[in-house]
């Protein structure tokens, strides 16, 4: 659980921010070939959570043969122990998840953005608001339910990670990347402690329900806020 929480802190804020920025860019009038960019950014979805993706990253992040270290070498950075150090292993796992799910989250936000009437931003522009101000004061508040939805999905996804930690790091080093689901699986099928892992499933389920309810509460509070403003 703690690992998942740490992992969550590592990549979810970054992923949410990136997804939001990319969605805004793709929704803006500056960008041409929007379909092409969208396709490229969304491509990893078809490999999300797969065995193939985990192994590909394992090879790319290999201390000696991997291209990640090679690229860093070009930049004059010394090799990074991607998978052999507790913190780097968490970061590597976060990187894999970010790669797989960023495009998906971007699409969710893009859907939300396209539901916002363009007149609002237009009116603000006429009133003299700059792009940054429009983004912070109009886009983000109106998009809040969608952002909360995306973050909630990410939280549930993080606590449910299984394929990636099992194959990329096997929960290690020193259990640094063990997630609740990996633990449940290990206890059931390796240690044959079915009762123990059933109890763990309940705790895990309770955490997810609390998180989902929190999301529901956050979104509905916002709706009241909108209604109050007419």
């Amino acid at each position: 659980m703690l690992n998942s929480a740490l992992l969550f802190l590592i990549y979810v804020p970054l992923m949410t921010l990136l997804a939001l920025v990319l969605a805004v860019l793709l929704n803006s009038r500056y960008v041409r070939l929007q379909g092409l960019w969208r396709t490229l950014l969304f491509l990893p979805y078809i490999m999300s959570g797969t065995v193939a993706a985990a192994f590909t990253f394992q090879l790319m992040l290999d201390r000696n043969a991997g291209y990640a270290n090679k690229l860093l070498g070009f930049l004059g950075v010394s090799p990074v122990p991607w998978l052999d150090n507790t913190w780097w292993a968490r970061i590597s796992l976060g990187l894999l998840v970010l790669w797989a799910w960023l495009g998906y989250n971007m699409l969710i936000m893009l859907a939300g953005l396209q539901a916002i009437p363009p007149e609002l931003a237009e009116a603000a522009r006429v009133d003299g608001a700059g792009p940054v101000r429009i983004f912070c004061r109009i886009t983000v508040p109106l998009l809040r339910p969608v952002i909360v939805f995306s973050v909630t999905l990410s939280i549930i996804g993080t606590f449910s990670l299984f394929t990636e930690p099992l194959l990329l790091t096997n929960g290690g080093p020193a259990n640094a990347t063990t997630t609740p689901v990996l633990q449940i699986w290990q206890n059931t099928f390796s240690f044959l402690r079915v009762g123990y892992s059933a109890a763990m499933s309940w705790i895990y389920f309770a955490v997810i329900v609390v998180l989902a309810l929190t999301q529901y509460f956050l979104v509905s509070r916002r709706d009241r806020y909108l209604e109050a403003r007419g």
């Binding site: 860019l25 960008v31 491509l43 959570g49 043969a65 790669w99 194959l167 689901v181 699986w185 389920f205």
Partner: protein, 281 residues
């Protein structure tokens, strides 16, 4: 001067935007390229890592993959399980969605709320009891049934189809009823064809999920004869330093290739399906 400045600013912003997009896209595409390139290299070249492109192009890894493992069998297993799952799931979710969208019956809203509530339950939370049920009650371990049946009528699919069917005007259905069409005929001849776009979107999502599934097949398919592709790939992993990455990457390419091709053909439907599933979600 101010106009010139603004123009230059605009150009700068535009260049920056494209730089960000190109950088992120490269990050997204690179692992695919890396996988493909590695699968065409001899083992020593992967680990010497001197060149990005193979010095000695080879298809040997692909033939090894089929020789060393039961890959042909696994390919077929993955394929027919994904097709069966998709077909059954589309049929049941369309039926369920139709019921919730177009019929009034006592307890409808309570039942629908119940279906939606099950969306919160992550699969991993029920994997242990479901496995026990599959083994002790149904005796389905080592058969394809656990992969096809339990998830066939899933809450997401029912919700997804219902949302789409809400937009079918009641008048069409009533007109058909007045003309004497049976309910079965209405469902197959009017509702399903009208929902074709939603069915395609949902079908792709279900197919990808089934094709890539790992945790559940790992649990219910212990014997190699029934393995799907992800399980075969996983079985190639050796102790540290002993994993045959050359064969592994070839297998990965084979497992991803159908999805990449399908993605290129259907990506519009997939994208709009995911976007439709979230607004109002």
């Amino acid at each position: 001067m101010s106009i010139a400045f603004r123009l230059r600013g605009e150009h700068l912003v535009r260049a920056l935007v494209y730089l960000v997009l190109a950088g992120m896209s490269a990050f997204m595409v690179f692992p695919f390229v890396w996988m493909l390139v590695s699968s065409l290299k001899p083992f020593q070249e992967i680990f010497s890592g001197a060149h990005f492109l193979p010095q000695h192009w080879t298809l040997h890894n692909f033939s090894s993959f089929f020789e060393q493992t039961n890959a042909a069998r696994a390919l077929w297993n993955s394929f027919y399980i994904a097709v069966a799952t998709t077909a059954l799931s589309l049929f049941l979710c369309a039926l369920g969605g139709y019921g919730f969208a177009k019929f009034r019956f006592p307890g409808r809203n309570v039942l629908f709320a119940f279906v939606i509530a099950t969306l919160v339950i992550p699969f991993a939370a029920i994997v242990v009891p479901l496995f026990v049920m599959m083994r002790n009650t149904f005796h389905w371990v080592d058969t394809p049934w656990p992969l096809i049946v339990p998830s066939a009528a899933n809450a997401f699919g029912i919700f997804f189809m219902r949302q789409y069917m809400l937009s079918i005007p009641d008048e069409i259905l009533d007109a058909a009823r007045v003309d004497g069409a049976t309910e079965r005929r209405i469902f197959f001849r009017i509702v399903l064809p009208v929902c074709a776009p939603a069915l395609i979107s949902l079908g792709i999502i279900v197919f990808i999920a089934s094709w890539n599934g790992f945790l559940w097949p790992l649990v219910v398919l212990p014997s190699p004869h029934h393995w799907t592709l992800p399980l075969v790939l996983r079985s190639l992993q050796g102790p540290p330093g002993r994993t045959p990455y050359d064969v592994l990457m070839a297998g990965s390419v084979i497992s991803v290739l159908p999805l990449v091709l399908g993605f290129l053909v259907f990506q519009r439907r997939l994208v709009s399906g995911i976007m439709a599933g979230t607004v109002k979600g």
